[in-house]
Amino acid sequence: MRPTSFDKFLMRCRIYQFWRFIVLNLKILKAVHHDKTA
């Protein structure tokens, strides 16, 4: 599964990447919390 040209555009699109930055932080914090309380 290679990234498409649109995927590559999104990798450089700063507005989209700022959204991904927030989502990744939340995902990681949620997973760490789940990990610690499991």
Binding site: M11, R12, Q17, L24, H34, D35
Partner: protein, 477 residues
């Protein structure tokens, strides 16, 4: 009053020291023994190796931190451990001479000893560079800058980065280094003068010693995270030489054997190859003075913990409980091993033996995050033992989350990184009813500039945490 001695102040040992000092440092004696007087933030040495950070920004002095946490600090090198009588012998730094330290609980968090000698010609004292230690990362930087100077004069250079032994681990660091080199050479305007080759013992790109990371795509299909990584390498023009176990290095060539048992060589002008790692370098002796190291450690020097050892790979894959949970030594239950120091029960990636009998298998990784988590678990178990006599904390690598951010360029404006969230690190097929043995909702691989921001944020917050600054307890390992 209990005495706790911690050997090593890397991610695992330093984390353990902070939690122990914070919880019981005022009432009990906590002592850290470390070869250097500083903590080194290892992930930043990828950037140090291309002169993208100043060396002094990647380290900090340990004693002022330990003073805050009621932890004693001894700079020195342990030479022997006497588990029947609960003491260690060490050579103190400077002219202070040998000393002994008694303990009620011993935490071995020595990290990885770079076994350059396992590959003839490998290492910063011979022909190749290394970003694995502070001083060698500075040397690698200097050699890299010399290579850049040659490129600026119009010479072509071939840079080979990867693993330097059939059983080496830490492929992620090598991948990060070569992609940062690509970014750096592009910024310096000499990328067209460089041929970059990633040479690895992995069976395929993206294995990283964890058997690869499959992910669920937007369409709900299972895809290989390695495809994203390979695509990045193709975009960067990095050549790939997979399934190679390096046998020897000389001034001009890297000699390897591949999975099919063919021998070959790759020429280079600059090479950074991660060596095989070994565990502890000191010996264990019983009260009669007999060397009992083989009962405490495996042949690689990694300390046995509460795992199941000796399983064949096919059985290990089915038994996630084979991975240690509380990290105490089964023979000497007051000795714990944390981080890279504990003996894994086997590889995570499928092992391969060539027709010549050479085993080429990526080693199981223990990143800073994993080491920090284990350091915390061990610290809490020691606190439990001191307060109640019963351990209540546990976390196997088959229950543990790992977040790895492989930088492809430091710049917050035009850098990028590949973010890998793996849960759990060691697949657990009894808990997750899929081929991957992982939580496919959590497990992710993605690339973009957000990764570069995340990497910088992680570095900043980790350095804040490790210096015991306000709120350090709330920052996850």
């Amino acid at each position: 009053m209990a005495k706790v001695v911690i050997i090593g102040a890397g991610f695992a040992g330093h984390t353990a020291a902070m939690y122990l000092g914070d919880s019981i440092g005022k009432d009990h004696e906590i002592t850290v023994v470390h070869k250097f007087d500083y903590f080194g933030f290892v992930p930043s040495w990828v950037w140090l190796g291309i002169d993208a950070v100043k060396p002094e920004h990647t380290v900090f002095k340990l004693k002022p931190i330990y003073d805050k946490f009621n932890v004693n600090f001894v700079q020195g090198t342990v030479t022997s451990v006497h588990p029947d009588e609960n003491y260690i012998i060490l050579e103190q730094a400077g002219d202070a001479g040998p000393a002994s330290l008694e303990y009620d609980y011993l935490i071995i968090a020595t990290g990885a000893h770079m076994n350059y000698d396992a590959t003839p010609g490998l290492g910063p004292k011979k022909f190749t560079q290394s970003i694995c230690h502070f001083d060698t990362a500075i040397q690698a930087r200097d050699a890299y800058l010399q290579s850049v100077a040659r490129m600026k004069r119009g010479e072509r250079q071939k840079l080979v980065i990867g693993t330097g032994h059939p059983l080496a681990a830490c492929q992620g660091a090598a991948f990060e280094y070569i992609t940062n080199i690509h970014h750096d050479l592009t910024q310096r305007g000499v990328r067209d003068k460089a041929e970059l080759v990633y040479l690895t013992n992995e069976p395929e790109i993206g294995d990283f010693g964890v058997g690869g990371i499959n992910v669920v795509t937007k369409g709900g299909r299972i895809a290989k995270g390695g495809d994203l990584i390979e695509d990045a390498m193709d975009e960067f023009g990095i050549g790939k030489a997979v399934r190679r176990g390096v046998r020897e290095v000389d001034a001009k060539n890297v000699y390897w054997e591949d999975f099919e048992g063919n021998y070959g060589e790759t020429d280079y002008d600059f090479a950074m190859l991660i060596p095989q790692s070994r565990g502890v370098t000191f010996r264990f002796f019983d009260k009669e003075g007999k060397d009992i190291s083989s009962t405490v450690c495996n042949p690689g020097g990694f300390v046995f913990a509460d795992g199941i050892y000796g399983l064949k790979y096919d059985d290990l894959v089915k038994n996630s409980n084979a991975w240690p949970a509380q990290y105490y030594n089964p023979t000497y239950k007051n000795i714990f091993s944390a981080g890279i120091a504990f003996a894994p029960p086997g590889p995570i990636s499928e092992p391969h033996t060539t027709k010549n009998g050479t085993v080429i298998t990526p080693g199981a990784p223990r990143t800073g995050m994993i080491s920090g988590v284990i350091g915390r678990v061990v610290a809490f178990n020691v606190i439990d033992m001191i307060k109640t006599g019963r351990m209540t904390h546990r976390e196997r690598m088959s229950e543990m989350l790992a977040v790895c951010i492989a930088s492809n360029g430091k710049s917050l404006w035009n850098g990028s990184a590949i973010v890998m969230i793996i849960y759990p690190i060691v697949p657990d097929h009894s808990r997750y009813d899929n081929k991957e043995g992982r939580d496919m909702f959590v497990t992710k691989v993605e690339r973009g500039i957000s990764g570069a921001w995340l990497k910088q944020m992680v570095e900043t917050t980790f350095m804040h945490k490790f210096q015991g600054r306000i709120g350090w307890q709330f920052i996850p390992e």
